[in-house]
Symmetry: C2
Subunit: 187 residues, 2 copies
DNA sequence: TAAAATATGTACCTATCGGTACAGATCGAG
DNA sequence: CTCGATCTGTACCGATAGGTACATATTTTA
């Protein structure tokens, strides 16, 4: 019985991928075991709360990544305009031009919405608030900045849906490009 | 054993609601039975292909509704501008300001994407094409019209995700209003 | 190196999954 | 009224779901 060197944090990305590809209900313990290489023993040792705790941990890890990589620069970075550019580039890379689903968005459309309501709300609220802060720092009014930020975050989610349904990554890039142009034009 | 008066077409809306609320995998036969009042006998009589045929029938019914109610007026209606206005109003009503999920969009984010790939692609392709046709009839170039149509359809999907995640129908109305303003401004 | 804490695999549990079989009930056509 | 077609409820199927129990390994600590 070889001891696995993996930490709890190491399995979160693998876990996230399983939830992304199969959804919460479709992510069976068998699939999770196969994807992570961890047996039920290890899994329930790391996540005593079972599947629900696994999904919550994945959501928390995602939230942490976005906070570090995207929200913080928008909110506190020296150059708001550069932070916005970085956000669009990071989104294209993270969502692989629409090939990769946004787990939070997917959970929002499924009946996981209620179970993880707080995490979902916080994720999008933080994103909109951070982007709005950057836009305000560029001279926009609070109301205008908030509305524009909502539109951009919504555009990203819509672009993922469209790109996946049409099987076309170009539409993702196109929509993000338009959103970027629209939000940077008036600055 | 009382004979049910329901036709196959009558159960499709109920079926659709179950898939919308619980997703494909979450829509168990038990839930379907409870929601429709039909036992397994009747269910498999109407849909010999089981769950997959039920979902396909629901998608076809949805497609038919949008074709009749939204695409046709955009494409062939006498007044393209009025058809666009009607589209936004119909979307707000149909998706109940973001309270109700778009089944096609939800399927696109789940692993049902591959199983129903053709239906999902057709739904969005038809929507974009119809809206683009209306915009062209209002004088826009083909390329410009197509890009604008994609942006609007994407905005609707993004608005649903955001509204559900934030638990706020106002953001749906706001985003659709902005999309409507943007698309009708240059006409 | 002994003991305590941390991992891990396996066997097993009950509940439910989608689907099938089929006997009855109900119906319309003649 | 009869007969065949159309419905519908129930019992049942094997597979799999998430989860628990626990003995066995491995590390860490003292």
């Amino acid at each position: 019985m070889a001891k696995q060197v993996s930490e709890r944090a190491d399995v979160l990305p693998l876990l996230g991928e399983v939830f992304r590809e199969h959804g919460y209900e479709g992510a069976s313990l068998a699939r999770i075991t196969a994807a992570t290489g961890l047996g039920k023993g290890s899994l329930y040792h790391f996540f005593p709360g079972g599947k629900e705790e696994m999904a919550a941990a994945v959501l928390a890890e995602i939230d942490g990544w976005f906070e570090r990589e995207i929200y913080a620069p928008l909110r506190d970075g020296a150059d708001p305009a550069a932070a916005i550019d970085h956000m669009f580039a990071a989104c294209d890379a993270y969502f692989r031009s629409g090939r990769r689903v946004c787990l939070v968005g997917a959970f929002a459309l499924a009946d996981t919405r209620d179970r993880f309501a707080v995490a979902l709300r916080d994720y999008f609220a933080a994103w909109v608030a951070a982007l709005a802060a950057a836009l305000q720092r560029l001279g926009r009014t609070e109301i205008d900045a908030h509305a524009a930020a909502e539109a951009v975050v919504g555009a990203v989610q819509g672009a993922i849906v469209l790109a996946r349904a049409l099987g076309d990554t170009a539409v993702f890039t196109r929509l993000l490009g338009e959103a970027r142009a629209a939000v940077t034009a008036l600055v």
